[in-house]
């Protein structure tokens, strides 16, 4: 039995080159790129022809021209004689301002509601369920319009303004509240706060190292709290309690003094906060539920008290589930702040809209907004990914 010689089996012919997957891959990609470039080129060509016909200059030169429109509220100095570039900057700062405040408030409110959803108190659990289902299932644009119209038409004139708290006025001019008057001692109080914070961090580091080495515990939490609160308080008391408030008061037909926000800003911030909080609440709830009950039982078996179980066992694992979806909620809130254009808060989109109407530079205006929002989105996504990496599970 001689084994058949290898020569007797005909070697399979090499497949033709167009059957080679690598060659086909290159071909398909070239084809795809060609189609994309052709479509893109067609659109760009049409756009240039159309713009040329309408005598609209392309390019960003218009940014240096005078904007000549007023902006209702601005955190930096702005006058209609400033350039379009500065108007865009005002809009960008307004967008970031409302987005940052909204993210902070929505996180706090959403976490509280999310935990309350899991409360064993029947009434609290049902009330928060109603909150979540109501605000999640109604379009944000409708909610914003409702709050804004409510402040503009439903709220009384400054003379009959509501006073939910002493010194706080709600009227159709917006929200007025007292502000602490500035005092040179405030800088020292702030410095004392920073020193206290640094001291607390140092003490907790020292305590952890000592516990690792000797097993002796040290109440670093209480000492840290005492440092953070106590030092500024000490400076505050020694400086003679410099706390005077600038109260808003009715002067003529409007308020003077104190701080104030416009109905537009109040409606936007309020609407964004309660809308996003209803989503964050569900994320927090799901995160806490995702930590299995056995983890808590094991922690109790090890002798950890409920507070420590929450801090050392449940929360670190829940955060891992919570961070990625909450990141996309932060992104959503930032993007949703562009709905300001509906109620007339001068955010980036509504200023770009005005600019586009005045100059006809639609392509540049939209490109500018898209670039800015992409940059904001990428920044938030990047920083949250860094944080996520810090809390993520380290596997083999």
């Amino acid at each position: 039995m001689a084994s058949p010689s290898t020569d007797s089996i005909p070697r399979p012919a090499r497949p033709p080159f167009w059957r080679n997957p690598a060659v086909r891959g290159v071909f398909y990609q070239l084809l795809f790129i060609a189609v994309v470039v052709a479509v893109g080129g067609f659109l760009v060509h049409n756009t240039l022809v159309n713009l040329g016909r309408q005598n609209i200059a392309t390019g960003f030169g218009f940014l240096h021209r005078e904007a000549s429109f007023a902006i209702g509220e601005s955190l930096i100095a702005y006058a209609p004689s400033d350039t379009y570039a500065r108007a865009f900057l005002v809009g960008l700062i307004n967008t970031l301002y409302v987005a940052v405040l909204g993210i902070v408030l929505a996180t706090v409110l959403g976490t509280v509601i999310g935990i309350a959803r899991l409360s064993r108190n029947w009434l609290v659990a049902k009330l928060t369920l109603v909150y979540v289902e109501t605000f999640r299932n109604i379009p944000l644009a409708l909610q914003l319009l409702f709050w804004w119209t409510f402040l503009r038409e439903g709220a009384p004139s400054p003379r009959q303004a509501w006073r939910p708290l002493p010194g706080v006025f709600v009227s159709d001019r917006g929200l007025e509240f007292p502000l602490p008057q500035s005092n040179p001692a405030h800088l020292w109080i702030f410095l004392a706060f920073v020193v206290g914070l640094a001291g607390a961090v140092a003490v907790s580091g020292w305590a952890r190292r000592r516990q690792m080495a000797t097993g002796v515990q040290f109440p670093s939490g209480w000492v840290g709290l005492a440092l953070i609160v106590g030092l500024p308080l000490l400076v505050f008391l020694t400086a003679g309690t410099p706390l005077a408030f600038d109260w808003p008061a009715l002067k003529g037909f409007n308020f003077a003094g104190g701080g104030s926000v416009s109905p537009e800003f109040a409606a936007l911030l309020f609407g964004l906060t309660i809308y996003t909080a209803s989503f964050i609440a569900e994320i927090v709830r799901a995160g806490i539920l995702s930590v299995s009950w056995g983890q808590s039982e094991a922690a109790s078996a090890l002798g950890l008290r409920p507070g420590l179980t929450m801090r050392l066992v449940v929360l670190p694992q829940a955060l891992r589930v919570i961070i990625p979806p909450i990141t996309s909620q932060y992104l959503n809130l930032t993007k949703n702040s562009s709905l300001a254009v509906i109620i007339g808060y001068p955010d980036l989109v509504s200023i770009a809209n005005t600019t586009m109407n005045q100059t006809g530079q639609a392509v540049e205006g939209i490109a500018l907004i898209m670039a800015v929002y992409l940059a904001i989105s990428l920044t938030i996504a990047l920083s949250m990914n860094l944080y996520n990496r810090a809390v993520a599970l380290v596997e083999r």
Binding site: Q29, T134, L142, F146, E153, S338, V341, N353, A362, L374
Partner: protein, 366 residues
């Protein structure tokens, strides 16, 4: 010795708390600790402050019939305003005598959505049903045949517009989304790069900018002399926008398919498209139905943004109804009414998606 074995009577134990009856239910669920009692009291105080006022505004003091806005002023809600403006809010400027047509369109959409919830007809029959339904919607809205007058898209307002934008947007975005998701998972770097760039670009910007782009830039994109309908522009914006979000949902399903399935398909000699169509997609899409429903809810709510480019969807018609000089200042009634409509659609769909999720997880839970 003796005293060690001596029986000491144990103190009597307290009887167990009863676990039935209203009082014990209250004790267990509302008053089982000091903290909980405080919470209950705060919540009860909140309810006592709000509920009676709301009931008084919406029911007791409400005015149900009035001839004009002036006769309707009072402490309560003016539901007569909704009665007066009902057809305008629902159907907008659609010719008054022909408003049975958009009414049927709304009913067809509701029927299609309800039919889609029945898992027994999922598959080819459902697709057929949708095609027939959408064709009927087109005929009813446009008219021009069967003795119905032609109605231009400018007059398609209110609830039918909201439903068309959301449903047609999702239906046409879906095939595009599948291609984008496949492209993002492709082995070919150029295809992958372009798909990733598209998805991330659209997901990184607000819907409003996409709507602006469609309304301002689409006319510029077209060859000179070609014009494009306003409604179609908004519809294209919704398709492009929803496709990017749907693509990410579909990608989630694609990533959940075990590699063995793909290797087995390769071993059977299936090509890329055969493998994708027969093995990968049927499994991947079934996995992502609940998140698909959630994306649909999002798109449905997002249609309210078309007021920024001057289309009158449900929110737009409500706003327009508020500008009537005879009926001024009834914004709360109008907004509460359309909020109730949006809420009923979204709440129903979100409950359905939660139910599906539970059904799908049944197999995995033991």
């Amino acid at each position: 010795m003796t005293d060690a074995t001596q029986d000491l009577p144990l103190p009597a134990e307290r009887p167990p708390t009863p676990s039935a009856g209203i009082v014990s239910w209250l004790r267990v669920n509302l008053f089982n600790s000091i903290g909980n009692t405080l919470l209950t009291l705060v919540a009860a105080w909140f309810l006592a402050m709000t509920i009676p006022r709301l009931v008084r505004w919406a029911v007791i003091d409400a005015i149900w019939h009035a001839d004009s806005g002036r006769a309707c002023r009072g402490d309560g809600a003016c539901w007569a305003f909704i009665g007066e403006k009902l057809r305008f809010i629902l159907f907008g400027r659609f010719p008054y005598a022909e408003q049975w047509r958009p009414l049927f369109v709304v009913l067809i959409f509701i029927g299609l959505i309800l039919a889609s919830c029945d898992r027994r007809i999922w598959g080819r029959r459902l697709v057929l049903l949708w095609l027939v339904g959408l064709a009927l919607v087109g005929v009813l809205m446009w008219g021009g045949i069967l003795g119905m007058s032609y109605v231009e898209t400018d007059l398609w307002n209110g609830l039918p517009l909201t439903l068309i934008l959301a449903v047609v947007g999702m239906a046409l975005a879906f095939p595009l989304a599948i291609l984008l998701a496949l492209g993002r998972r492709s082995q070919l770097p150029a295809v992958r790069a372009i798909c990733v760039a598209y998805i991330e670009l659209i997901r990184g910007v607000p819907l409003i900018t996409v709507l602006f782009m469609a309304s301002v830039m689409l006319p510029l994109f077209l060859p000179t002399g070609m014009t494009i309908d306003k409604l179609l522009r908004a519809q294209i914006a919704f398709i492009l926008f929803a496709a990017a979000y749907l693509a990410e949902v579909v990608r989630g399903g694609l990533q959940a398919i075990p590699k063995g399935q793909i290797e087995a398909a390769d071993a059977l000699g299936l090509g890329y498209w055969q493998r994708t169509r027969l093995i990968v997609l049927p499994q991947a899409l079934a996995l992502v139905i609940p998140p698909l429903v959630n994306t649909f809810i999002g798109t449905f709510k997002d249609t309210s943004l078309v007021i920024v480019i001057g289309l009158f969807d449900l929110l737009g018609t409500a706003n327009a109804a508020l500008t009537d000089a005879n009926w001024r200042g009834f914004f709360a009634e109008a907004y509460v009414f359309i909020a109730a409509i949006y809420f009923s659609f979204c709440f129903f769909m979100s409950r359905y998606s939660q139910m599906l999720e539970r059904e799908f997880n049944k197999g995995g839970r033991r």
